[in-house]
């Protein structure tokens, strides 16, 4: 009886050892992956930053203004062109 339990214990210890070893190898691999991914993230973040800078460069007010002046057939906005939602609704109800 003791003999069989000893054998069973021994086998289970071996199994646990093997299992643990597997976990360790996995863990190491995941660590490396995390590092790689983190570096990739920082890389992508840098690229995003670059693209955002480019977007800001393209949407700088000076440039937008000159494009608007040359491409759009529109007049400069006046304060009277800006309407309050209440005024519009009032106008609408007065008409009806």
């Amino acid at each position: 009886m003791i003999r069989t339990t000893h054998i069973l214990l021994f086998i289970s210890v071996l199994g646990v050892i093997f299992f643990n070893y597997e976990i360790k190898i996995n863990y190491q691999q995941k660590e490396k992956e995390i590092l790689k991914l983190n570096n990739l993230i920082s890389e992508k973040k840098q690229n995003i930053k670059l693209i955002k800078a480019e977007l800001a460069y393209l949407s700088r007010p000076e440039r937008l203004q000159s494009i608007a002046e040359h491409q759009l057939n529109m007049k400069e906005i006046l304060p009277t062109d800006i309407w309050n939602i209440n005024d519009i609704s009032k106008l609408y109800f007065e008409k009806n």
Binding site: I17, N20, Y21, I23, K24, Y27, Q28, E31, K32, L35, K36, N38, N39, S42, Q46, K49, L50, K52, A53, E54, L55, A56, Y57, S59, R60, P61, E62, Q65, E76, I77, L78, P79, T80, I82, N84
Partner: protein
């Protein structure tokens, strides 16, 4: 039997030592070590890159004003290049002719380090690797970029080659920025652009040498725009003249002339001497060489609103002389004229004030001579005068918590009277700032034309012209201050180069364009509905 026992004993030793080593190795393999240790002992060169990249600067609406981006430079080691000729032609295939023409000689030389091209893309780098020459390397570096170019040059400032701030916000907030914190400014890029263009147009029109302008929230001191012209592109590091880099708006000191009469008037109202009539018909001789006179001669005694609307130097001088030095110094101190303005840029100046205790100094300071202040000082003081008399602290930050309580410099009633007078300067038919009028918003302000001090003498031809005021004047939300340096008389301005002709015309346009952006609705009120005192202004000749 004994032999068997010996063999059994040997076997036991062998097997036990085997088990000990076996389990020892197994155990060491099982130990889970922290990742740094794994990397140190293994050949894998994966390490986490932890760089402190300088923080971004954004404007009030989240528009990116300054950022740090990574760039790749192509570097080769010419001493190990086998076939320079072929390598050069391959490089030309990739980059076209945008490459240094001396490259061939340099590539065949014995140099160890040669920067071939700055800022290449990774796609190009892969192509270069395929050429198959040894000694090709890529270098990573970080560069500060300002997408808005010259949008807010003087506010943002610059960084040196190491990425440390050397001027403007970059320097003042260097600690925050270098620890990767982003800064959100109260600046509005759109308004900044409109303001700059209007001011630039006027400077060119009047062949002036420089200009400066500030738009600031009158109630909490948040600066919406600071313009100083001439300006520069922050991305360019060389060929900048001192004049371009100089911040006229916060560092430049000017005698701002009649704009300072606002504060003389405020002092008079605070001290209850605003109801008397003052005779301004004859010039005052303060000394043998100095005489205070007016351009417009007024033959009858006038009241305080008329002194301001007609911009009478004699009137202001007489008020100052009845107030005295102590009162003037006290209010100059409360308005912040005796110290630097503490704002988030380093370029600020200590005002230059004539400290002489003499009647001529007292009188000249009342109408803006003998006191040199920056446009920012004037904008700050104007806010105090218009916002109900509360002192404010100008700031460039979107969110800032003020520890100290606002001090009441002037009473609310004084401020209301001042607003009524400044409204008339712009809207009355005799006002000096008539051209500043807007049809959509009530504006109030004061013009100021001062003779320019050149080498210790007042020039007869060169002027410094200024306008300071607020809108909507019935309940001021924003203050604007503009100074133009050295406008020349023009034919279309009837040969005049005074503030009423040079600065005032852009005020109305500016307010019409920026007020909707600042969420101020047009005000359709009769002058009597504005809640201002109606003063009657008489013309220069009755």
């Amino acid at each position: 039997m004994e032999n068997i026992k010996k063999i059994k004993f040997k076997l036991l030793i062998c097997s036990s030592s085997f088990f000990i080593t076996y389990f020892g190795v197994a155990f060491s393999m099982l130990m889970i070590k922290p990742p740094e240790k794994i990397n140190k002992h293994s050949n894998l060169k994966i390490t986490e890159k932890k760089l402190q990249i300088r923080g971004n600067i954004y404007d009030n609406n989240g528009y990116l004003i300054a950022t740090t981006i990574r760039k790749h430079d192509l570097v080769v080691n010419p001493s190990v290049i086998r076939n320079p000729k072929k390598f050069e032609s391959e490089l030309k295939k990739i980059f076209g002719n945008k490459i240094n023409f001396l490259l061939k000689d340099k590539l065949s030389s014995n140099l160890k380090y040669l920067k071939v091209k700055k800022n290449i893309s990774l796609k190009d780098y892969n192509k270069i690797l395929k050429i198959g020459e040894p000694g090709i390397k890529i270098e990573e570096s970080y560069i500060r970029k300002y997408p808005g170019k010259s949008l807010a040059s003087h506010i943002i400032g610059k960084v040196d080659v190491d990425g440390k701030g050397i001027s403007g916000v970059e320097k003042k907030l260097n600690n925050e920025l270098s620890s990767s914190k982003n800064i959100h400014l109260s600046i509005d890029s759109g308004i900044q652009n409109i303001f700059k263009q209007l001011l630039l147009k006027q400077i060119i029109k009047f062949q002036a040498s420089a200009g400066a302008g500030i738009i600031m929230n009158a109630n909490n001191g948040k600066i919406v725009s600071i313009v100083s012209l001439p300006d520069y592109d922050n991305n360019i590091n060389n060929n900048l003249s001192e004049k371009q880099v100089f911040n006229n708006a916060t560092k430049g000191l000017y005698e701002l002339g009649s704009t300072l009469k606002i504060f003389t008037a405020a002092m008079a109202i605070e001290n209850g001497i605003d109801n008397q009539l003052i005779d301004v018909s004859s010039p005052i001789f303060v000394s043998k060489s100095q005489k205070i006179s007016d351009i417009k001669k007024i033959n009858f005694p006038i009241n305080l609103p008329e002194i301001i609307v007609h911009s009478s130097n004699i009137g202001a001088a007489k008020i100052a002389s009845s107030l005295g030095h102590t009162v003037q110094d006290k209010y100059f101190n409360l308005l912040g004229f005796l110290k630097k303005v503490n704002v988030e840029i380093i370029e600020t100046s200590l005002p230059n004030i004539n400290k002489q205790v003499h009647i001529s100094s007292l009188m000249s300071k009342s109408y803006g001579y003998g006191i040199q202040i920056s446009p920012l000082h004037l904008a700050k003081a104007t806010s105090v005068a218009l916002n109900g008399g509360k002192s404010i602290t100008p700031t460039l930050l979107k969110t800032k918590i003020f520890q100290n309580q606002n001090i009441q410099v002037f009473s609310n009633e004084t401020s209301r009277k001042l607003r009524s007078i400044l409204y008339l300067v712009v809207n009355d038919k005799y006002g000096t700032g008539k051209l500043a009028k807007s049809f959509y918003y009530p504006i109030g302000g004061k013009t100021g034309t001062a003779k320019k001090l050149i080498d210790g003498r007042y020039s007869e031809t060169e002027n410094i012209v200024a306008f300071t005021g607020g809108f909507p004047i019935n309940k001021p939300e924003y203050v604007l201050t503009i100074v133009i340096d050295g406008p020349k008389p023009q034919k279309f301005s009837a040969n005049r180069n005074t503030a009423g002709w040079v600065v005032a015309p852009i005020i109305g346009k500016l307010v019409n364009r920026i007020a909707p952006i600042l969420k101020i609705e047009p005000i359709n009120l009769e002058p009597s509905q504005l809640g201002l005192t109606k003063y009657k202004i008489r013309g220069a000749t009755l």
